[in-house]
Each structure stands twice: as structure tokens, then as C-alpha cells.
Symmetry: C2
Subunit: 258 residues, 2 copies
């Protein structure tokens, strides 16, 4: 084997000076470092060498960088609860199903207790529509509308908002193929029947039955997802590319060996 990782002389020099600067200077945690261009001239070294050194320190977790913002000491601050846009990057389908299994049976139970007659009318209508639709897109739309109507009928605005969050993540485009495969075939018919059962329980105000029916439905959906995820793919379907790591430092990489 060749040398594991020979930093170039210049980068080594930069790394040393950078550590010295950060260790004994007045930089506090969380503070922004000077921009790379300035830092490079101050240390007396080129920007490329500096960036290699910064990359090392970022890998060590001592700094973090973001394009357009700057380079900061310490570890990347935790996500605030409100930035849900990229939640889909940090979760995965099974987590989502676990959450649905916690929330939607409760919604069904509440709906059975609090749904208005108008809600129930709409639910019955949706059940028909779902059963009558054959194309994949249509099924998905009606199914989604059905579950959301139940969530609305539960009459808890906060829980509805949470349902919407989960639903938006669930509908993420990158999981579209997954959903389609999980829904195909004979499973769809069972889903329709399960929907009917949930709605019937809600219409008859049987809270416990509604909760249980919804739970059984979602458990089957989860099982379908599991089956699809663990069974091999037919060759015709091209796999999605695996997601990139958060930082896209594809260049300026340290060279290994020769």
C-alpha cells in the first residue's frame, strides 16, 4: 500500500498555522472566521492550501462552513424546529409510517366522536371515488384526500397541521416510485375495503372500531412498504441515485496515495 494520506507541504503548513490561530487567539465558539481570501493572505498562504486545511478541520468537527454565509467555529448549530423544508432529508419512509401509525388511528377515533354529518357525507363520497378510480395517480389523489378528510373531521387544528406536515413528507417525490410499487396489485383492493371499514366505523360513531380499523390499515401499508423495500427490484426500473452528503465538497479533495 502507498502512503495513507500525504498532505502536501503547503497544506500542512496551512493546517499548522490555522490551528495556532484558532487555538490561542480570541476567536470564541460560534464566531465567524474572516473570509477565506482574507485568512489566506493573513496566514501567508494560497487559498487552495487554506481550503484543504479548513476541510480537515471541518472533518474534525472544529469548524463548519456554508456557502454565502461563512466559516464558523464549533459544530453546526442544531436544526430549529421550524425548518421543515428539509425534514424529508433527515427521515425515511419507515419513520414516516411509524408516525402515521401513532397519529392517524387517533385521528380516526376523534373523527368518530366529532365528525359532522357533512364530514361523513364527504367521507362516503370519497370512498366511492377511491374505489371507482383505476389509474395510479387518481388512486393516490383520492386516497390522500380521504385520509385528510378524516384528519379534518377530527376537529383538532394542531393535530391536523401535524398530519399535513407528515403528509407532505410522505408525498415527497423521491418516494413516488416506492409508493407506487407498494400500492400495486391485489393490495389496492384490500386498501379500499379497509377504507370502507374505517369510514363505516366513523359513520356509526364507533370510536374504538375506527381507531382499530385505521391501525390495521396503516399496518398493512407499512408491511407493503417493507415488502417492497426488501424484495429485489426488476431490472427495468432504474434506481434513484443515492443522496449526496450534506456538503458538496467534491473538489479540493485531499489526494490519497499516488
Amino acid at each position: 500500500m502507498s502512503d495513507p494520506d500525504p498532505l502536501t507541504d503547503s497544506s500542512n503548513l496551512a493546517l499548522g498555522r490555522l490551528r495556532a490561530l484558532l487555538d490561542d487567539s480570541s476567536f470564541d465558539a460560534g464566531q465567524r472566521l474572516p473570509p477565506e481570501r482574507e485568512l489566506a493572505t493573513r496566514i501567508g498562504i494560497g487559498r487552495r492550501a487554506l481550503r484543504r486545511a479548513l476541510e480537515v478541520m471541518e472533518a474534525e468537527g472544529r469548524i463548519w462552513r456554508q456557502q454565502g454565509k461563512g466559516t464558523f467555529l464549533g459544530s453546526r448549530p442544531a436544526h430549529t424546529p421550524t425548518d421543515l423544508a428539509d425534514l424529508t432529508k433527515r427521515t425515511h419512509p419507515l419513520e414516516v409510517m411509524d408516525v402515521r401509525l401513532e397519529i392517524e388511528p387517533a385521528l380516526a377515533r376523534l373523527a368518530a366522536m366529532r365528525a359532522s354529518n357533512g364530514d361523513i357525507e364527504r367521507l362516503l363520497l370519497l370512498a366511492e371515488k377511491t374505489a371507482a378510480t383505476s389509474d395510479a395517480d387518481g388512486r393516490e389523489l383520492w386516497d390522500s384526500a380521504l385520509h385528510r378528510t378524516i384528519a379534518e373531521a377530527a376537529g383538532n387544528s394542531l393535530l391536523l397541521a401535524i398530519f399535513d406536515i407528515v403528509d407532505r413528507i410522505r408525498q415527497d417525490t423521491t418516494w413516488r416510485l416506492l409508493r407506487e410499487r407498494a400500492r400495486s396489485g391485489e393490495r389496492q383492493q384490500i386498501y379500499v375495503e379497509q377504507h370502507r371499514r374505517v369510514i363505516a366505523a366513523i359513520a356509526q360513531r364507533e370510536a374504538h372500531a375506527a381507531e382499530q380499523a385505521m391501525r390495521e390499515h396503516l399496518e398493512l401499508v407499512r408491511d407493503g412498504l417493507l415488502t417492497v423495500m426488501t424484495s429485489p427490484l426488476p431490472d427495468s426500473i432504474d434506481r434513484a441515485v443515492p443522496p449526496e452528503p450534506v456538503t458538496t465538497n467534491n473538489k479540493d479533495r485531499l489526494r490519497h496515495g499516488t
Copy 2:
């Protein structure tokens, strides 16, 4: 009683012309109307009269307006799931407690199954801290940290994000007094004991016991909230002003009677 609502002649005229313009013209649903100033001159009427007419149509649900954006046809679009900033305006404490009762027992159960030993160490430490603190602020902080640590230990990032959303709403400043009153007195000691029980169940990996203990805890918290909300206030505490309706159309109101 006097006349119920005599629209002024000018406003009536404006309303008629506006309806005509909207009905037979090429304005599609969701489209933005021309600005009021332009619309006023085009119809050939003053802006005040136009605004009265627009107010009527807004009340009818045919249009909606927003300062700085414009006037739009159709009904106000539904809230997107991502704008959580004002969720606290649309919910209320009992809804929040209902949601917590759905989510946190599940979190406790998952935590019992998946918590690392490090998590459990932290939980035990937090239980001590909570018990040892006496001031209200401190209790609130430790309590919050305790519940969140359990949520973290559950190992479901999506559920954790949802917990954070609910927790942020729960901590809304306008409910601060409410929380303080609900926590006062002998209830606090029971809470500490309940926390201990939840943590013990998690530490011993008793999933069902953890879930049940958390549920009992939250039910007591909810009962405390109910008690506080239904019992009369001492006179010394000034009540918060009731929230304003969404739109602040306090002027240009149609005049009733004489």
C-alpha cells in the same frame, strides 16, 4: 329599529359594476385583481366606495385581500403546512394537551425500547435536577429538557421534529401565566414523582409501563390545566386581551342604521 343596512348609493353603484366586471370578464379564479386605485378609476368611482364594495365581496367569500399583496378572486388559499409561526393563533391549550397525549406516550414507549445507556444516564440526571429545583423558571426549564430528552431517545427524527413543533407552541409566551398557575402547589410534587416513574420504566426497558406512566402524567397535567381554566381568577391578575380577528378592517365599515 332603524333600517338594517342602507348601502350608500355610490357603494351600491360600485358593487354593481364590480360584480359585472368580475362575472363576465376574463378574470379566472385565484387571479389578482388590478390595484384598488386603478380599479377605482376604471370603474369610474372613488376609492372609498370601491373599498366598501370590495369589503362586501370579501364578506361574501368571493375575494380576499392582503395588504401589500393585492386583492384576489376566490377564497383565501389554505395554510401551507410549513407556516407554523402562527399555529399558536389557531390552536388552544387543550388541543395541545390532546396532541401531547397522543404523541408523548408513544415517545416514551419507543424510548424504552431504543434508548441508549447514555440517554438513560441523562434522564436520571434530569430527574434529579427537576426535583432539586424550586423556582418556577427552573422547573419549567428542567421539565422541558426532560420531556425532550425522552423524545430524542425514541430515535425517530420525524417524531422528534413533531414534538419540537408542539413544544414550541406549548411554550408560547401568551400561555405562560396559565402554565405557571397549573403547575403551582402540591401538583408539582406529584409531577416529579410521575417523571421518576416514567424514567424508571424506560431505564428498565418496560415499554408498556413507560407509555402508561407518561399517559397518566399528561392526563394529570391536562386536568390541572382544566382546573385552572375553569376556576375563577383572583382579581389581581389582569386578563389578556382577546385576540383580534384576522383582518383588521376597522375602518371603511359599512354604516348601519343612522
